[in-house]
Point group: C2
Chain length 216, copies 2
DNA sequence: TTAGGTCTGATTGCATCCAATCACAAGAAA
DNA sequence: TTTCTTGTGATTGGATGCAATCAGACCTAA
């Protein structure tokens, strides 16, 4: 289960990947409109592949298309953001459970290295990037077809908001996250499925509640 | 949250809806190939809207597209079917929890009527149709944007397989389902969120395990 | 001033044509 | 016989032009 890159030769896929990066990096902000002609000119292609790319991004939840009207970068209100976190609480522990038994020693080494870098992160930028990397890596052992898609999609759509809201988080949050990540790592290493599930559930839940508190 | 019909004027949407019905009704069987030209002729349209419709169905998980190769009705192996049931076990109880507090008395009346018909169903066909109707109705109170999509998508993709596998289920299964549905209805009426979640979780889980037993 | 209607430019949706790619069959070599 | 190569038809991907639709400005009437 590769939750990272996606190499498909067709230009529509290439365009979709490129746009996806821009959205995840925050270059394209939620609510921004995308105009087919402009994109076509920029990518030196016709509107056909652009349209297909937009449909793919729509499937990823990154873009919202309204018939005869246009395409916008998906915009979440806080309720939707919260909803996605609630789904994550339920779904990611399952994916972790399915993954742990198939994690190779190589992957575990990689996980530990990422965790170390994560603990040393100083900027919010770094923290977000490494946090994402760490969690998605823990799922790499799951040979799932649908679960992986769902999880990836949720990480993608919430990405711009994690960036936005994490600015308001207290220092306290990062130390809690640090402790939970360490506990999670230990549970993974001794292949304790129930414990790992529980820690992850609590980790996501606590983050949601903290964001909830800060946001009002 | 309307999990039933979808009225969008654009022809690509109309085509997508039509194809969707055919797949869910079992006219188009998993593994069957879809050829753009043939569909274009049948729908008296060009290939552009057909292509868009296929992309939409891909997003719904009903169709699988391979670049430069073609489109097929999505085919699940048993492992994927099981995976989807595991996700349902985690996700649908959450949706039920979010729904119950907002169920109107009108909806509850409708639910009871559906349950009554469901208990009187004699053929497998009827059972499947009413079972789907009953469960999706219990979620109708949830004002969710993503959860609803996910749940609906899982019901859609597993539909052909529910039909296939339910043929091999014992009479025993239907009486268990009956009892669980009745318990669920009671929990819903007294708005007992925890109990409702637990019953639904067990209901989906038991079905999965029974199918697992029968299938090997 | 404000509400409603109409017009117009911008943009999307669809049709058609051509190019790129693939799958499969037929043939050649071992 | 088996395996590899090559070529050809079928099918998908992309480009271009036109029609349909929408949003916003402008005008008119109350």
């Amino acid at each position: 289960m590769v939750l990272v890159s996606n190499n498909d030769s067709a230009t529509s896929h290439a365009i979709a990947d490129d746009l996806k990066d821009r959205i995840l990096e925050g270059k394209y902000k939620p609510g921004m409109r995308l105009i087919q002609d402009e994109l076509a000119i920029e990518f030196k292609a016709s509107r056909s592949p652009i349209r297909e790319a937009l449909r793919m991004l729509e499937a990823d939840g990154l873009v919202t298309i309204k018939t005869h009207s246009g395409a916008w970068i998906t915009e979440l209100d806080f309720a939707e953001f919260e909803e996605l976190y609630q789904i994550r609480e339920r779904v990611e522990p399952l994916m972790l459970r399915l993954s742990i038994p198939h994690l190779t020693t190589k992957l575990i080494k990689e996980l530990e290295a990422t965790l170390e870098k994560l603990n040393e992160a100083t900027t919010v930028q770094q923290f977000l990037k490494l946090d994402r990397e760490f969690h998605l890596l823990t799922y790499e052992g799951a040979a799932t077809s649908y679960l992986g898609e769902i999880v990836q999609r949720m990480w993608n759509t919430t990405q711009p908001y994690r960036r936005r809201y994490s600015q308001i988080l207290e220092r306290e949050h990062f130390t809690s996250a640090h402790l939970e990540h360490t506990l999670l790592m230990k549970a993974i290493k001794r292949a304790d499925l129930d414990d790992a599930e529980r820690i992850l559930y609590g980790h996501i839940r606590r983050t949601r509640l903290e964001l909830q508190d800060q946001a009002e």
